[in-house]
């Protein structure tokens, strides 16, 4: 059954999700560079947006996983894709509001799986694909990233110990620009792909594309643009939690963390593993704390994040299922249209609510005062 109006709405919603993903995840790439002063915030964000754009074109492996590796495309309808997206976006916005770097990827995947389960039952989900390409990489990647970052940090301090403190910081700050760029590139190869995968899934569900088709060029281009514009407009809120909340970071640590993140994300993306860039970046930042003697890891902040992650797949799944029942209950195109209207209203409400405690380029690096990561001190009136 083809329904081009609903298809257009789903594509717009997916691109909006991609935009929020860029908005939400900028922190992963540029957090440490901004925190150590290696790049001015505005430059960091612009560069990151550009590299996300390039990265989106680099690989199609993750898009293929999402489009045909997680659910049985024959049993997925446009309604299911729309509901899955709605569930993922709601979870993504809620975690963004509270400054928790939860995973946009898992929100999206959880939403789609949840709505598929609600619509067609357990047989429509490719559990093996879900476990081998999402769940296991999700569990292992932060640990591997932490290990690589810890070893890297130890090596960097060991090799550079004869340098003066000033020379060391200056040198690694330059190196950090390179490593941060690689993270942005890796982010594009992983996260822009997810939206491409979902749009491709919608096109297959609508019968516009045959089963097993690859993402068409206009899909790649529009997703790349959406994520890079989102990245440019910036997620100051999450940058703050990552850059200052977990460990106090020096430039050699920043470089080690970013190199580890970039390497793990790029390698995994090339295997089609849809992992969360947020998980990997957090693992790396904790790793740099472990690799440097005397560094202090804020385990309670890390624990809060880990809890949010555990809940992400199931919570987004429940949101996706509820969205499906709503759309299906009303029925037809009208159901999807009402669902997406509710989603828009909710997004707007959360956005307005977030303006109350604004984090932007002015106060993103203010002194960390413990407590809730989302509540920075107001910028000093100097």
């Amino acid at each position: 059954m083809r329904n081009d109006l609903v298809l257009v709405l789903v594509v717009i919603t997916a691109l909006a999700f991609d935009f929020t993903n860029g908005f939400h995840d900028t922190g992963n790439a540029m957090a440490t560079s901004i925190a150590t002063g290696a790049l001015p915030p505005r430059v960091a964000v612009a560069l990151s947006g550009l590299l996300n754009l390039v990265g989106a074109f680099l690989s199609l492996a993750v898009a293929a996983t999402i489009a045909s590796g997680l659910v049985n495309t024959a049993e997925v309808t446009l309604q299911v894709v729309a509901a899955g997206l709605a569930g993922g976006i709601i979870w993504n916005l809620l975690t963004w509001l509270f400054g928790i770097p939860s995973s946009s990827s898992h929100a999206l995947i959880g939403g789609v799986i949840g709505s598929t389960l609600a619509a067609a039952g357990g047989s429509a989900v490719q559990w093996k694909g879900l476990v081998s390409k999402v769940v296991i990489p999700a569990a292992l990647s932060p640990i591997i990233a932490a290990g690589v970052a810890a070893i890297g940090t130890w090596l960097l301090y060991r090799i550079s110990r004869s340098l003066t403190r000033g020379a060391r910081n200056h040198g690694f700050r330059i190196g950090q620009v390179g490593s941060a760029c690689m993270v942005s590139l890796a982010h594009g190869t992983n996260d822009a792909q997810k939206t491409m995968g979902v749009i491709t899934l919608a096109l297959i569900a609508n019968g516009t594309l045959p089963t097993g088709a690859q993402a068409p060029f206009w899909v790649i281009l529009s997703c790349a643009l959406a994520i890079s514009i989102g990245t440019y407009l910036g997620g100051w809120r999450v940058i703050r939690t990552l850059g200052k909340g977990l460990v106090e970071i020096e430039s050699p640590q920043g470089m080690a963390a970013e190199s580890s993140s970039a390497a793990i994300i790029l390698l995994s993306a090339s295997f089609g593993y849809s992992l969360s860039t947020t998980h990997v970046a957090t693992g790396s930042i904790i790793g740099t704390g472990l690799g440097k003697r005397g560094a202090d890891v804020r385990w309670n902040v890390a624990g809060r994040m880990a809890t949010a992650w555990l809940f992400t797949l199931p919570s987004a799944g429940v949101a996706g299922a509820l969205a499906y029942w709503l759309a299906h209950g009303i029925g037809g195109s009208l159901g999807v249209i009402i669902l997406l209207a509710i989603l828009t209203g909710l997004s707007l409400a959360i956005y307005l609510r977030s303006r109350a405690t604004k984090v932007d380029h002015n106060n993103v690096n203010d002194q960390w005062t413990g407590g809730a990561p989302s509540e920075p001190e107001p910028a000093a009136a100097a």
Binding site: S132, N169, S270
Partner: protein
């Protein structure tokens, strides 16, 4: 393919270590070579942030290190592109 792809995990760990920890270490070696004191008069104190110490051999070693890093990045990105764009299946 099974539930766990051990060969992929193994590759991610090994190449992850080489690229994620090895390349920054190479950068650190280059940096260390670069700051070696040379014939140029050193007026800077302990807190100086001058990175180039004036030693020509050090400069050459540093440039070689940085070039290896750039080459490795270029090669890695090319590989990711190749793997990520499989030729369309022929029907």
């Amino acid at each position: 393919m099974g539930w766990i792809n051990l060969s992929a995990i193994w590759k991610i760990v090994v190449f992850g270590l080489l690229a994620g920890a090895g390349l920054p270490a190479l950068f650190a070696i280059g940096l260390r070579a670069l700051v070696l004191p040379g014939s140029r008069v050193q007026t800077a104190g302990a807190d100086s942030d001058h990175v180039y110490g004036g030693n020509v051999l050090g400069l050459v070693i540093a440039v070689i290190c940085f070039l290896i890093i750039l080459a490795a990045l270029g090669w890695g990105i090319y590989e990711v592109y190749q793997i990520g764009h499989p030729a369309p299946a022929k029907h």
